[in-house]
């Protein structure tokens, strides 16, 4: 946005404050004091809880998680969940980028595959699970298939968009610069497409984790979600609460990791 000369020095402070409120800057500036209501709630919960079996106090959550850790089942479960997460995200990224590129490049492919992809996209992942279980069995593969099917879409859609814009820009530019095919990919296509893939992955990553947990909860494939389903079936309420907190921490860490990865790739964007 171009600051007009009309907005004089008097309003510059105002403008600065408002720019803080803009979407990009806002994320980092959520005031920490906003955590107070949650902290107070948890404190009250801790002090008054205990009698009601459905609402065990937070200290019980902690001790039940510590029990799981002592049994030695927590860390392997997290490891399994993370492993499926990484494998699925990589596969989803590859498939999503390739398919998105293809669909974005040609209008006819787009129209041909459109309804089929649309249908797959709106089929709830939860509904696919029983079917895949029946076809493949309770295996690691089941997790990966369902998760890829559910999390490929953000990447695919981002890539389709980028790929569309590419076909007009790059074609003329590459021809007039007489670039070799390799140069065309490295100097024009990759820099244009990479940020879109990264953006797609950023959206897909939380979805991916959710889907991994989803499959683990509904099937008996080992992982964090399976521990949760197990705790629920045995009415270990504090453990369920504790595992929810573990999942929150995990998703938070994954978000940070993906953000770092995104910043890392951003350094390779040419101006």
């Amino acid at each position: 946005m171009k600051p007009t000369s009309a907005s004089t020095t008097g309003s510059s402070r105002l403008r600065l404050r408002r720019r803080d409120g803009s979407r990009n800057a806002r994320r980092g500036t959520v005031p920490v004091r906003g955590l107070l209501p949650l902290a107070v709630l948890l404190l009250i919960w801790q002090l008054t809880g205990g009698s009601e079996p459905n609402f065990p106090p937070p200290s019980d959550w902690w001790s039940s998680i510590a029990t799981l850790q002592d049994e030695g089942s927590l860390v392997p479960a997290i490891g399994q969940t993370l492993k499926s997460f990484v494998i699925s995200l990589v596969i989803a990224t590859v498939i999503g980028s390739l398919l998105g590129f293809l669909v974005g490049q040609s209008r006819i492919t787009d129209r041909m595959l459109g309804p089929t992809l649309e249908f797959l996209r709106f089929t709830p992942a939860a509904a696919i699970i029983p079917v895949v279980v029946l076809l493949v069995g309770y295996e690691e593969k089941t997790k990966v298939i369902v998760v890829v099917l559910g999390s490929v879409w953000p990447i695919l859609l981002q890539m389709r968009q980028a790929s569309r814009s590419l076909s007009q820009e790059s074609h003329d530019l590459a021809r007039s610069l007489r670039l070799s095919p390799r140069q065309r990919v490295m100097k024009i296509q990759a820099p244009i497409l990479l940020p879109s893939i990264v953006l797609g992955v950023r959206v897909a990553a939380p979805l991916c984790l959710i889907l991994v947990l989803l499959v683990e909860i509904t099937t008996s494939v080992p992982g964090l979600g399976n521990l949760m389903a197990h705790a629920q079936q045995n009415f270990l309420t504090p453990q369920v609460y504790g595992l929810v907190v573990v999942a929150v921490v995990l998703s938070y860490l994954i978000n940070i990791a993906i953000g770092m990865l995104a910043n890392y790739t951003a350094r390779y964007q040419p101006r």
Binding site: L36, P115, T123, A127, L213, V244
Partner: protein, 276 residues
């Protein structure tokens, strides 16, 4: 409302006003049909050889059977009811609280971080918890659906109402608009596009969570039908349910888009160009 119409958007309106049905994608539909035929063919020639993969014809007859029993309609109605009701509740609660926090900065400062933490809870992990708290009931399903599909709408309302163009405020001041007029004529239309995208997302989430809740334990609905068919080893019925619920998702999304186009053509046209 006209405040949101950039010249570009106004030009794009007539195209988007055409009913989507008139622009049916025949190539795409015939491709889908061809894929189904291929599947049938591969199955008939035993190239696709999974023990439990039914041919499309089997799926169709299974669906017909379910329809005649009346279970398909029953389950479909249940899932539809839960998903739509949950979605509507989530939309109202999410939009109202998002706007409130954005328009009352003090409140936002003191509450938003807590909301961010609550939002970070992966929705599906609440399913086992919800089963413990509410048992296998409609309430359990609804709570789960509402809680999870609330957050996209909340964030969109908050961000949409929060990130106004600074020049708009100057315009409002020079037009001497009151607080209410500003909210109605500037903030709401500005947030509308963002809100709509989130509503679409929330609808998909709601449908997903409804099916999940039914799979985990509710005796009604498409998810329950799926698990019953699974334990009875009836892949034809399972695929029938999956296809029905997929189509339901497509149709709901299409209806929402159509409603949005009719209600707010300007914003919708802007959005169409941004993400088709």
């Amino acid at each position: 409302m006209s405040a949101t119409l950039t010249p570009d958007a106004t030009r794009a309106v007539p195209r988007s006003r055409r009913l989507p049905a008139l622009r049916a994608n025949w190539i795409g539909l015939s491709t889908a049909l061809a894929l189904l035929l291929l599947w049938q063919l591969l199955d008939a020639t035993k190239v696709l050889n999974f023990t439990y993969l039914p041919a499309p014809s089997e799926i169709l007859s299974a669906a017909k059977g379910l329809w005649q029993e009346g279970t398909l309609q029953h389950n479909l109605a249940h899932t539809l009811e839960v998903a739509v009701l949950g979605w509507a509740l989530a939309a109202v609660i999410g939009a109202a609280s998002g706007f409130l926090l954005a328009l009352v900065p003090v409140l936002g400062d003191w509450v938003l971080a807590s909301c961010e933490v609550m939002r970070a809870i992966p929705g599906v992990t609440l399913a086992p918890l919800s089963v413990l708290l509410f048992g296998f009931s409609l309430q359990m399903e609804l709570v789960l659906v509402v809680y999870v599909s609330l957050w996209p709408v909340f964030m969109a309302a908050y961000v949409g109402a929060h990130s106004r163009d600074p020049r708009r405020a100057d315009v409002a001041r020079s037009l001497r608009m009151g607080r209410t007029a500003q909210v109605l004529k500037m903030v709401a239309p500005e947030a509308a596009a963002e809100l709509f995208v989130s509503l679409r997302l929330a609808l998909a989430v709601a449908l997903n969570l409804a099916v999940l809740a039914e799979i985990i334990g509710n005796p009604d609905g498409i998810g329950a039908g799926l698990t019953q068919a699974q334990s009875a080893l009836q892949p034809g019925k399972m695929f029938a349910y999956v296809i029905v619920v997929g189509l339901l998702g497509v149709i709901l999304n299409w209806l929402l888009s159509a409603a949005f186009r009719t209600l707010l053509p300007g914003v919708a046209a802007n959005l169409d160009r941004a993400e088709p």
